[in-house]
């Protein structure tokens, strides 16, 4: 187990190192910090002097070392647009995205578990067939299209929900939350439903497939033979063993979810990280872009490593050769 842990952590470090190299390369090639920081009325000599002062004339590995040092201290540079440290901007925008991901995960869990289990227990039921047919339609509709249709129907035609923004926020320390007001919930409902729309069918299918496989296994047959009630077989014996693969896949899907927050936040003008990222792209705000890349990269590597470690802990076969 220890060897497995070390191998897994080493891999995570290598990946973070590669991400930092990519981040550094972007920073070097996008935008000119001297031009962004000084005005037009600065002479060429002064610019040259400024470059020297900022260390822009040093060899790249010296600059990379400095970049890495700053990054490790949590200093990801200053955003050209906000004129503030990029870390600060990211921390300010992160709660919006986290709340969005949180509410949509709630929706996914609340719906996918009962629906997936039901369609596994009664595969020939009319409703299960409908669900399977519906799920392939669901997978085929892009997130941003679902979001746009929701805006058109529920905001423009019916006027039930607001189409953009986060609504009334309550400050809890540095965390501006929309989950404590009715207005905040009205605003978060549509974006989170849209965000969960593509994951929900996937999870329903996954839970169904896993559960059906478990129901075929020997120990379930034994449980039936013992004369246990069907409720006990399904929900205690079978369901527990369905969860493990579902949790692993759930961890991997985090990356997909983050990609989809960019799309959802763009449609709903949700002031989170994804919206900030797209704005940074439009403004060629390199420090903020790099900061977002590093932030998301580290979060994803972290989550995946933890999920893998937990999985290794629970399922020893995976540790042996490191091959799945």
């Amino acid at each position: 187990m220890i060897a497995f842990m070390i191998r897994r952590l080493a891999q995570a470090l290598i990946v973070i190192f590669i991400i930092s190299l990519i981040g550094f390369a972007i920073k070097q090639s996008v935008g000119d910090p001297v031009r962004e920081l000084t005005g037009i009325s600065v002479s060429a000599e002064e610019r040259q002097e400024f470059r020297e002062k900022l260390g822009l004339n040093d060899p790249w590995y010296v600059q990379y070392g400095r970049f890495l040092g700053h990054t490790l201290q949590g200093d990801l540079g200053t955003s050209f647009f906000y004129k503030r440290p990029a870390t600060e901007v990211i921390l300010e925008k992160a709660p919006a995205t986290l709340e969005l991901v949180f509410v949509s995960s709630l929706i996914i869990i609340l719906f996918s578990v009962p629906l997936g289990v039901f369609s596994a227990i009664r595969p020939d039921h009319f409703f299960s067939r409908l669900l399977m047919g519906g799920s392939i339609v669901g997978v085929s509709i892009p997130v941003f299209l679902t979001a746009i249709m929701m805006v058109y129907i529920f905001s423009i035609k019916l006027g039930w929900f607001p189409s953009y923004g986060r609504g009334e926020l309550v400050m809890l320390g540095g965390w501006g939350t929309g989950l404590l007001t009715v207005d905040g919930w009205m605003h978060i409902l549509m974006p989170s439903v849209a965000l969960s729309s593509i994951m929900l069918p996937l999870f329903i299918r996954l839970i169904r497939a896993e559960m059906m496989e478990v129901l075929e296994s020997e120990y379930i047959k034994y449980a039936w033979a013992k004369g246990l009630s069907s409720r006990r077989v399904w929900f205690v014996h079978a369901f527990k063993n369905t969860l493990l693969p579902v949790i692993t896949v759930g961890g991997v899907q985090l990356g997909v979810t983050i990609a989809f927050t960019i799309l959802t936040e763009t449609v709903f003008q949700w002031q989170g990280l994804g919206f900030m990222f797209m704005e940074a792209v439009e403004r060629s705000d390199a420090p903020l872009l790099v900061a977002y890349l590093m932030f998301v990269g580290v979060v994803m590597v972290g989550v995946n490593t933890i999920v893998d470690l937990i999985y290794g802990l629970v399922n020893p076969t995976i540790r042996i050769a490191g091959v799945k």
Binding site: I136, M149, V151, I156, G255, A259, I262, T266, E282, L289
Partner: protein, 305 residues
Amino acid sequence: MSRLQTFRDSYLWYSFRRDKVAIASLVVLVLLVLMAVFAPLIAPYNPYDPEMIDIMNSEIPPAWEDGGTTAFLLGTDSQGRDMLSTMIYGMRISILIGIGAVALQAVLGVLIGLFAGYHGGRLDAFFMRAADVQLSFSYLMVAIFLSAILQAVVGVARFGEIAIPFLILVIGFSQWPQYARTVRASVLAERRKEYVEAARVAGFPSHRIILGQIFPNTLSPILVLSTIQVANAVMSEAALSFLGLGMPIDRPSLGSLINSGFEFIFSGAWWITVLPGVLLVILVLSINLLGDFLRDVFNPKLYKG
């Protein structure tokens, strides 16, 4: 003639004839692809020709709505382009990028999967780790980052000119792990079989064993995966274009059409967004349904979920 006979006797054809959904989706897909291929002949207008565009015709609703005319069956967009023609040309670009990207990722992924799976060792470990890492970031994330960076480096105007080859590269490169993993899994199963052993004893060089003997036996998972991947690639392209990181608006794909129409949805001009959206869903859905059918026929246990 004998090949046709083999096909007619095959399980694939047998199950296809009995599956109404598969037949319907194949018909729809073939129709859409024909429309895309023969776009210049079918589309009533040429959306790339500035002579045919009149800004006075902008935002005309579809013919069945109040204020619509039969000259523009599905209405016009904000620049006065005929929606029907623009959508057909847009679908042409979407399909072109989808197929191009899948061809690229298939070549990359299949080669890596074949050689890594056959030789094993360090090379294999390296590529599989790389695939794991890239998958954990999700292909869409990788594609969004790559295009955001490139757009920032080359500038928006220049980006528009090279958008098609670039999108093919980005989407192709971000999805190779799917192929590499699938192919590697079947290579690992094939490698131990006797025919491979026989070829090795006969003194075949390893690249001949890999390409000539093993590769043909990995084709059916590749076929199943390819259908799903074309749908994925079309969706990815639409997502990138929707974010403004894909096709420019003067040569729109379905995604950039949806994007350009989004701001007009608030003023009631729903058709600029909704109609290309519907077309996109029909296209992706028919590919997905076919993929589902193929998966059931070839190998019911190939994928979960």
